[in-house]
């Protein structure tokens, strides 16, 4: 990959905050490093207070790093001109409530120097994209939390950026709304947008993210592709049905265990080689393969392991 393919580069990022006047500085980010590549949906996950939002605010130029580097599209994050290519939707966004949805989006479009004749059409487009086509003329004070969340995403999209930063984009949404936003993120990614997503909802990460970074107590505990969660050796969950009794007995003897399952169905977790052999043998003996899928350690398990292992490394 060339440098052009690196959208976000964070190197040894440190952030210290002073909790109050005269109090000692508290380190929130302990020299974190990670990269986001072009075209990825990148999940940035971690428990509360881990430093996710602080990292995002550094990337958005809202707070300054105490040390280390953070680059976005090859620019130092303190610059502002390149932000025409960046969209940011904060968690629980706040807007000028006296404006309508259409007015607030026009305002943000003007900030991003969207051509004046294009603004009205673009606003209609993004309102439709986030499912608020019928609510554009209502004042924001009348919007529900979910609608405000959608307007937050709409303002991040109004200037058609190439990179999107979403802080908890599904928060405040009902299951239907979550699915719609998830689908929207996938669609935007297919259109070529790089998406950086800060979230607590691990199932969403599993469904749409290509790579993740897990941040725990201001340190990156894991960064990599979701495939890397799969352990070695590769394991498969195999469900067989219509197993002849004699074959089942043979199988129990071979595996050295009694088969679990209901009726004539059994489910086994086996390494790749044994799975292939068993499938062939079962088919030859008249059994049916009902289900065969790769066993993956789910993200939640990995997340918990990362949190626990980081906790052990933390100085007491």
């Amino acid at each position: 990959m060339t440098d052009v393919d690196t959208i976000v580069r964070v190197e040894g990022l440190v952030k210290d905050f002073r909790p109050g006047f005269g109090l000692r500085r508290k380190r929130v980010l302990h020299g974190i490093s990670f990269e986001v590549k072009r075209g990825e949906v990148f999940g940035f996950i971690g428990p509360n207070g881990a430093g996710k939002t602080t990292t995002l605010k550094v990337l958005m130029g809202l707070i300054r790093a105490s040390a280390g580097r953070a680059e976005l599209l090859g620019h130092e994050v303190g610059e502002s001109s390149y932000r025409r290519q960046v969209g940011f939707a904060p968690e629980s966004p706040y807007f000028y409530e006296f404006l309508t949805g259409r007015e607030i989006l026009s305002f943000y479009a003007r900030l991003c120097e969207v051509a004046k004749p294009r603004i009205a059409a673009r606003v209609d487009e993004v309102l439709a994209q986030v499912g608020l086509a019928g609510a554009g003329d209502a004042r924001l004070r009348t919007y529900s939390k979910g609608m405000l969340q959608r307007i937050g995403i709409a303002q991040a999209l109004v200037h058609d950026p190439s990179v999107l930063f979403l802080d908890e984009p599904m928060s405040g949404l009902d299951p239907m709304g979550r699915k719609e936003i998830r689908d929207l993120i996938v669609r935007l990614n297919r259109e070529g947008k790089t998406v950086f997503m800060n979230t607590h909802i691990l199932s969403d990460v599993e469904m749409i993210c290509d790579r993740v970074a897990i941040i725990v107590a201001g340190r990156i505990a894991y960064e990599g592709a979701l495939e890397a969660f799969e352990g070695e050796p590769k394991l498969y969950d195999l469900t067989l049905a219509g197993l002849p009794a004699d074959f089942a007995e043979e199988l129990e003897a071979t595996l050295g265990t009694s088969l679990g399952g209901r009726g004539d169905r059994v489910t086994l977790r086996l390494p790749e080689k044994e799975t292939n052999e068993l499938v062939q043998a079962a088919l030859a003996r008249g059994a049916r393969v009902e289900e065969l899928m790769r066993h993956r350690e789910d993200l939640e398990a990995l997340f918990l392991r990362a949190v626990r292992s980081q906790g052990k490394e933390e100085p007491s």
Partner: protein, 256 residues
């Protein structure tokens, strides 16, 4: 560049015009300008002078009150409501944001000043009081003074809470109106040390009394163009100075 400043300024005007306290203060200023007609009847000889004195006082007092009241929350409110997050993540520099907010509030204040000026003119004409170039100059300098008050209120708003920013702004407003008198007092004190101290106070704080030409306007006295030019120069320089410091302070802030 200017598009973003204009968009923020326009939005600031819309936001400010929704504030009911603004209307209450403008209402009371109009009541006071109207009441000047009644007050002027207390004197047989200088009716029109009293009328216009009270009118100018009302415009300057309520103008400054609105400027401080709205200016001290100008930046703080944006940070507190977190509306600043979505704005600064756009291609907008902090200096542009500050400029937009400042210009928007100044435009709002000049709008309410225009309403008060109109009321002042109506009352003056109805009472057969003269209105001349001096009045226009004096009111123009009031407009500049309000812009200056907004500039230092904006500076304080960029780092302090509205309460503290209001305290600082009121203090600076009062000191700004006293520095000239203080300097005159120091000059007649027959002490070099006192003279030096009062001179430096006069230099270090904006001389707001230089922007008050209501007495000359009301009495029909000529205002030397050089003094007008100096007052305008001083006022504009202080505005830019305060805004520059405000931008420097604002640039260093973290929005947690």
């Amino acid at each position: 560049m200017t598009g973003a400043v204009l968009a923020i300024a326009t939005n600031t005007v819309r936001d400010a015009l929704r504030n009911r306290v603004l209307y209450i203060l403008v209402f009371f200023s109009l009541v006071m300008i109207g009441t000047s007609t009644a007050l002027s009847t207390l004197s047989y000889v200088e009716r029109t002078r009293i009328l216009q004195d009270v009118g100018f006082a009302a415009i300057r007092f309520f103008g400054a009150a609105i400027a401080i009241f709205m200016g001290v929350g100008l930046i703080h409110r944006e940070v507190e409501r977190r509306t600043i997050y979505t704005i600064l993540s756009k291609p907008v520099t902090r200096a542009q944001f500050m400029a937009g907010k400042y210009l928007g509030l100044v435009a709002t204040l000049w709008l309410q000043l225009a309403i008060m000026m109109a009321a002042f003119a109506v009352v003056s004409l109805a009472s057969n009081a003269e209105l001349g170039v001096g009045h226009a100059i004096a009111l123009g300098l009031v407009a500049l003074e309000l812009a200056l008050v907004v500039a230092f209120a904006t500076l304080f708003s960029s780092f302090a809470t509205p309460f503290l920013a209001a305290c600082y702004s009121v203090g600076l407003y009062l000191v700004g109106h006293l520095t000239r008198d203080l300097r005159a007092l120091g000059a007649s004190a027959h002490s070099n040390a006192v003279e030096d101290v009062t001179l430096w106070i006069h230099r270090l704080f904006p001389d707001l009394s230089a922007l008050d030409r209501s007495i000359e306007a009301v009495h029909g006295l000529a205002i030397p163009p050089a003094e007008i030019g100096w007052a305008v120069l001083m006022g504009v320089a202080w505005c830019l100075g305060f805004l520059l410091v405000a931008v420097v302070v604002f640039e260093r802030r973290d929005f947690r």
